[in-house]
Assembly symmetry: C2
Homo-oligomer: 562 residues x 2
């Protein structure tokens, strides 16, 4: 089966040139780029005036952050020109272990884009985390037999690397031995520690927030992934990296993206538009999002419009506006004039499907579960910082004899993290200032990185009700007032993902968010996103685990009472 | 074992920058680049004022063309800053098959530079060649298990690729399957044929002689090896490739280098100096000869001065003059202030040593073996073109009844190619114009690509004597006059390599060459080099095989008589 794309402007990533040429495709491959007007083919498409680019690759994304199943994610990003993503299934791995990764592999097979994975390196993220699974080097090793697994995922545990933790070094060694890459994650790591981290075998970083940091990491030999997602936006600060010679060692990634942003702003195409708007040559941005990504991840025959390459093509009307009209995936026209071709849903074995949908192993809760048997006194309280995921440690007088310690007038609400994977009965209960709810409670099963049940409330009754709604739904977000849920969003797949479309998921997401604002929270706060990070004990200062407060700087548990 | 190189200027190939820094080496690895002045180490060397570059890599060389054993080659190129070469053992493979390749692997183990190989793809080069071995895909496949074998060597048989020859496609496929590269060789191939050749999986080209050709091949996805050796000098014509963005897809190679040039001009360091003299930033040339080569050939952790990289370092006084003072190979100081450290000779198993030294399987010859039983008449005569390896087809009246057809007055000498591998008794005899010898005969066992015995003479007696001297020496070059050898050079290893040092070999080489000039040959002619290509039936127009003349353009045998 031969297809001829005639007279398009070809974006040639080996020379950063554009030339008017035909592209000849046979089955899944490009077999010629040049004058093929006299070639006998099965179909011809006139591409006059269009720009034919290599398909776009997101080098680092957490699918779970989009709250979408891979097939629903494909439906939203393929129309934006994405032909491949490299996903770290870190969240589902924390809930379901390697079976969760297996589920993601199956649930992303045969989509109109390539879904590659990296093996989640830090499950759980810290010893304070009570996750659904603990993944050792032995657990990860077999994953590398799958050609869709391209490496070890972001090695966040850089203290472990520097300390020479044997299991961590084994994870890195195994990836190298299998010929795979090792992604890094080490914000602001510098000097000798950076050298040691890199020398241990960590090939990339996606946490750079300024040029100085990026230059040091480039010189140390790391590839830099320029990140522009919903949560973290680094492009404007890293504009220099689009220049020669830096751009040859840089990729474009989103890391964490919400469905609303994917629908409204776009995906990698959005990053290319943003770069263009800053005066960057779009051809270079396109190369970084295609050839550079494929080379870094060693994806064979991918990332260019050239003979022998897989026919993954993103076709746009114009380079700066980068409006995607057509997409080819492995030689198949999967987007035609903006319309996505139908595709079969991936076939996931029933036992995997069942397993990820039955991820809650926890008893129903009562209001008594939220009561603390403490004397009145000075307590450590988590201080929310709007727009950030780090927190402050506050010291506040808590009156346990009045409304169970909660004081809405001072914005001191109760926070609970309830273990939900193994029925250990562990729960961490404390206080948070800065959410601003005047009534009710909110709960979620999205709470990094272990994804236990996290609840914030103005009273114990609503907190118990909210937590129980999460259990009943098998995961999700809920907003409760007077023991009624006023808004909810089910995330039944591992408590992380919806089974709705991007549009519906974005709609539900907006609804639960707005419902929190109705309870009095200020719109400076992103309630569910902020809450989701209150349990992540790798970001300072004070966080809540299933066994109580953690002082992140000291990397130790601390008591509620000061 | 930790070594600290203090205060050097580091050539940083990830950013094309130079910065003053310390380099910390532990065992065979670089573990830090930065301020390590307070580090406790086993030895410290002050590098103030020196430039520390990644070790230089020659991406394509035929060791046999240097006429040196790998250990003697190392002695001459390591002092020029070479820390790795990628050799195609094409010549010895034509004589000794995979055992010849095995010999080269053993004979290059443990040297103070890395010697990598590619598996010779075209043995023999054509069906007209009567070589010592025929290497099929099945023969080459096991070579890829050796991590020092990096790919399939230059695929010269592009007609075979385009015609879809199954054994050739299998060779390419096997290399890819093993995760290795496929080197190309397709001078001036262009358009649809280039696309098909590249789409078949050929990753590079080292035959580009102009920018237009190089740009087309770059756009087709090939890496370009800029060649500057003894035989072919392409750098000046390809100066553009040192610019951004082209330099990211280009390497520096020598292909064929004579020992005299290695001694006098240098190796890859010479190419860097030459580039600098043309106004090219030496940092870019250094990167092309280090990081780019290592990336193309997928040599792990090689090609940069960065943490985790193998400590292969080339240290120079100054970048433009690029005078090498010190070299580290795998963390060992192998060149110190210009003085090469002694090293143990590689241990080669006796049976391999014996095999390559007993490569002649041919009976002694007599003058009668050179007599042609023909009537006088118009004959095809090979016309030499001074300074080139292509020839012309001339038509000349040959008088077989006078001096056996030879006519010194018209410069029509006799040319013979005598099969010497398997005792087939085949010989091709004809005539050549342009050598200019007035008396005597010359013979050699270096005759591309099959390396049979090639003889040119002014009389049959001296030709027989010369051929027999080659057999007696087990290979070499000889100059004969009046049935005495007036100069000779033994090449007893497969009839291709000397067991002397570079200096001695260069000396012998000069002596045999000058002896030919004493016989009347003009100094426009490089007698042994020119003669060596008269048997290569891939370069037009008329060549001599062991079974007679070959019309290269028609790719068929032709008779002596017109």
């Amino acid at each position: 089966m031969k297809t001829l794309l005639k007279n398009g402007f070809i974006v040639r990533v080996f020379t950063d040139e554009i030339s008017k040429q035909d592209v000849l495709i046979e089955d899944d491959r490009i077999i010629g780029v040049g004058d093929y007007s006299d070639e006998s083919v099965d179909s011809v498409r006139d591409m006059s005036g269009k720009f034919i680019c290599p398909g776009l690759i997101d080098g680092h994304i957490h699918i779970e952050s989009t709250m979408l199943l891979p097939e629903e994610l494909a439906k939203v990003v393929v129309p934006h020109g994405t032909t491949a993503i490299v996903a770290d299934p870190h969240e589902i791995a924390n809930v379901c272990g390697t079976e969760g990764i297996e589920y993601m592999l199956k649930a992303s097979e045969g989509l109109p884009m390539d879904v590659f994975f990296t093996a989640s390196s830090c499950v759980p993220a810290t010893p304070f985390d009570e996750s659904g699974a603990v993944l050792s080097a032995d657990d990860l090793r077999p994953l590398y037999d799958n050609p869709r697994v391209l490496g070890l995922a972001e090695m966040m545990n850089y203290p472990g690397v520097l300390a020479g933790d044997p299991d961590i070094l084994a994870k890195i060694k195994d990836a190298k031995k299998a010929g795979k890459v090792v992604d890094g994650h080490a914000p602001l790591l510098s000097g000798k520690n950076l050298d040691r981290y890199v020398a241990a075998g960590v090939n990339s970083d996606h946490e750079c927030s300024n040029n100085k940091e990026a230059l040091e990491k480039l010189n140390a030999g790391q590839y830099i992934m320029i990140r522009e997602g919903t949560a973290a936006k680094n492009l404007a600060n890293l504009k220099m990296l689009f220049e020669y010679p830096y751009n040859y060692r840089c990729l474009l990634v989103t890391d964490d993206c919400h469905p609303t942003d994917l629908l409204n702003a776009g995906h990698i195409d959005h990053i290319i538009r943003l770069a263009s708007s800053l005066g960057i040559n779009p051809v270079i941005a396109i190369r970084m999002a295609s050839l550079q990504a494929a080379q870094y991840f060693r994806i064979p025959d991918t990332g260019a419009v050239a003979p022998g390459y897989i026919a993954n093509l993103t076709i746009v009307d114009e380079l700066k506006k980068f409006h995607v009209t057509d997409v080819y995936s492995h030689g198949k026209l999967v987007l035609r004039n903006g319309k996505l071709a139908e595709f079969e849903a991936p076939k996931v074995p029933m036992e995997l499907k069942k397993m990820v949908r039955e991820s809650f192993h926890v008893e129903k809760l009562t209001r008594d579960d939220f009561v603390l048997d403490e004397e009145n006194g000075l307590c450590r309280v988590i201080g929310l910082v709007p727009g950030q995921i780090l927190t402050k440690e506050l010291h506040e007088e808590i009156f346990f004899d009045r409304n169970s310690g909660i004081d809405v007038s001072r914005d001191i609400l109760k926070l609970a993290v309830i273990e939900r994977h193994k029925g250990t009965g562990h729960k961490g209960i404390g206080f948070i200032k800065g959410i601003g709810m005047k009534e009710g409670a909110i709960a979620s099963s999205v709470s990094h990185d272990s994804h236990n049940i996290i609840v914030i409330g103005t009273n114990d009754k609503d907190m118990a009700f909210a937590a129980n709604r999460i259990i009943e739904m098998g995961g999700g977000n809920v907003v409760v007032k007077g023991e009624k849920d006023i808004a909810r969003m089910a995330l039944p797949i591992a408590g992380l993902m919806s089974d709705f479309s991007a549009k519906d998921t974005a709609g539900f997401n907006a609804r639960v968010r707005n419902a929190v604002y109705e309870l009095g929270t200020s719109m400076d706060v992103e309630p569910f996103m902020n809450m989701a990070f209150l349990s992540l004990p790798v970001i300072p200062a004070l966080k809540m685990s299933t066994e109580g407060l953690v002082d992140v700087a000291k990397f130790e548990r601390v008591s509620l009472k000061v």
